[in-house]
Amino acid sequence: MISTDSRLVASVSRLRPMRSLYAGNATSVMQRGWLATRSSNWMVILSGFFEPIFYLLSLGIGLGSLVGTVTTSTGQAIPYVAFIAPALLATAAMNGAVYDSTWNVFFKMHFAKLYQGMLSTSLGPLDVALGEILLALLRGALYAVGFMIVMQALGLNLSWWSILALPAVLLIAFGFASFGMGITSYMKTFQQMDWINFVMLPMFLLSATFYPITVYPEWIRWFIQAMPLWHGVELVRGLTTGAISIAMLWHVLYYLVMIVLGLVLTTRRLRALFLD
């Protein structure tokens, strides 16, 4: 009877070379996350929605009166509040995804020993990685929809292209989440985790979020343009302001590469850490 089992299994695994990495059951990991969120402090999670709105109200209204209008990278002159809103949307996607895929993952890895338990079942490392990342995306999407509604109410979606900002935001979140989880797998102490903040804060402040990067000298501009958030901000801003161009596909490509590299990295690391 046992030998029948193994013949069956062997034929299945020929069909699916990823079998030892992926059991096709990432949804169970997502369900766990959803249940954990629901039964613990969902208020904390809901509150994440307010962060970009606070920024929008404060800087949009208060600073808007000082700044007036801004010229975007495509030469359009728009009110300051319409300039920062897409940037805040992209940043919110980044923050949500990074928080979920770094601090949360770090805690689960080192304190709750959650992945150890998951990987002693029939789940593979890619199930765990995908499940966690997709849940982070779901949360990111929730924030994004909320923020887009606020933008719509304030008249900050200047074009019908804005509707595409939603998938764009998911792309951004996916990129950051898959990469963040991979990076986190290398972290061993809270002090090392702080380096994530050291990278995030400059990226947030400098990536054409609050003013066009034309204020910088050339070499700083190159540096900023190599960073992922700048691509996200430009992509979302292009969509909400309706300044569509074929060059925006480069931003999309940037994130696609980031997603693939991040997933490969994360899966390999989970395998090395828990199934060595």
Partner: protein
């Protein structure tokens, strides 16, 4: 004899230069209760991790349910229940949700998992804790929940790594009772322990492991017969004098071991040896005659005490 469910031949696991497991061979028959007895760091947990298909062996052969864990990790794990050394319950979820979510990891249908979770809560005597938070459970309850969780997929083999370490005596006995029931139902149990009483209670057969290798193999009774005497006389003369007295015990007992705090005299009749000792004018501060245990077997095999 039916085909073994686990078969290991010359199993080796090296971490850089250190061999945590250094050429272990054993077989486990279906329905058997098999133990790995040894001190901390002997390589028991590493062996368990390899059997559990979450650690890749360095060399040797291993088959679990006739499959190679290196290739068929998820397949093997789908048939196992794992109780790790330290509980890794999901403290963000309530007790019953822990079981349900874990069942979903095996791809089991929700309705099945829910029904099974309720059965297992009853089995683990945790029905009234179904809605509690994991952190509010006592150590013994957490352990029983971990075992219940390991049973959610009706595993063919249950792996238990140090199942009762850190529990108080009452909690241990409750847990043993539950494991007995599983054994009666025909579940194959593989457990590691450094408690000899646990090994004697639960194991049909065991291997004594030290420094990554197997020192002896057999049923608890056979091991005691082979490596120890029927009874052991423990005497204390005070930590300064034990070694000195040991020199004067020629001809007493089958064998004598001197430990820092006491002397062990192996014999089929401990009381008689104590009488002979006092006849020589040696009066211990305390004396105790007890049945021989696996602790004595281990001491005999390695020259070291099991719990250090």
């Amino acid at each position: 004899m039916p085909a073994p469910v686990i078969a290991a031949t010359n199993l080796v696991k090296k971490y850089k230069d250190f061999a945590a497991v250094d050429g272990i061979s054993f077989e486990v028959a279906p329905g058997e209760s098999f133990g790995l007895l040894g001190p901390n760091g002997a390589g028991k947990s590493t062996t368990m991790r390899m059997v559990g298909a979450v650690s890749t062996r360095t060399s040797g052969d291993l088959s679990v349910l006739d499959l190679d864990p290196n290739q068929f990790g998820p397949e093997i794990r789908s048939q196992l229940g794992v109780v790790p050394q330290s509980d890794n319950l999901d403290s963000e979820l309530r007790v019953r949700d822990n079981l349900i979510v874990y069942g979903r990891y095996f791809g089991l249908p929700l309705s099945h998992v829910k029904a099974r979770a309720d059965e297992l809560l009853a089995f683990a005597q945790l029905e009234d804790k179904a809605k509690s938070k994991v952190d509010d459970l006592s150590g013994g309850m957490k352990r029983r929940l971990t075992i219940a969780r390991a049973l959610i997929n009706d595993p063919r083999i249950l792996l238990l790594d140090e199942p009762t370490t850190g529990l108080d005596p009452q909690a241990r006995h409750i847990l043993w009772d539950r494991l007995f029931r599983l054994k009666e139902q025909g579940t194959t149990l593989v457990l590691t322990t450094h408690y000899m009483d646990e090994a004697e209670q639960l194991c049909d057969r065991l291997v004594v492991v030290d420094k990554g290798t197997i020192m002896a193999e057999g049923s608890p009774a056979a091991l005691i017969r082979e490596y120890s005497s029927r009874e052991v006389l423990e005497v204390r003369f005070g930590s300064e004098k034990n070694a000195e007295v040991a020199g004067m015990l020629d001809g007493i007992g089958e064998r004598v071991d001197v430990l820092p705090d006491r002397i062990l005299v192996y014999s089929d009749n401990g009381e008689a040896e104590l009488v002979r000792m006092t006849e020589r004018g040696l009066h211990p501060i305390t004396s105790l005659v007890r049945r021989s245990s696996l602790e004595d077997v281990f001491l005999r095999l390695t020259g070291r005490s099991l719990i250090e």
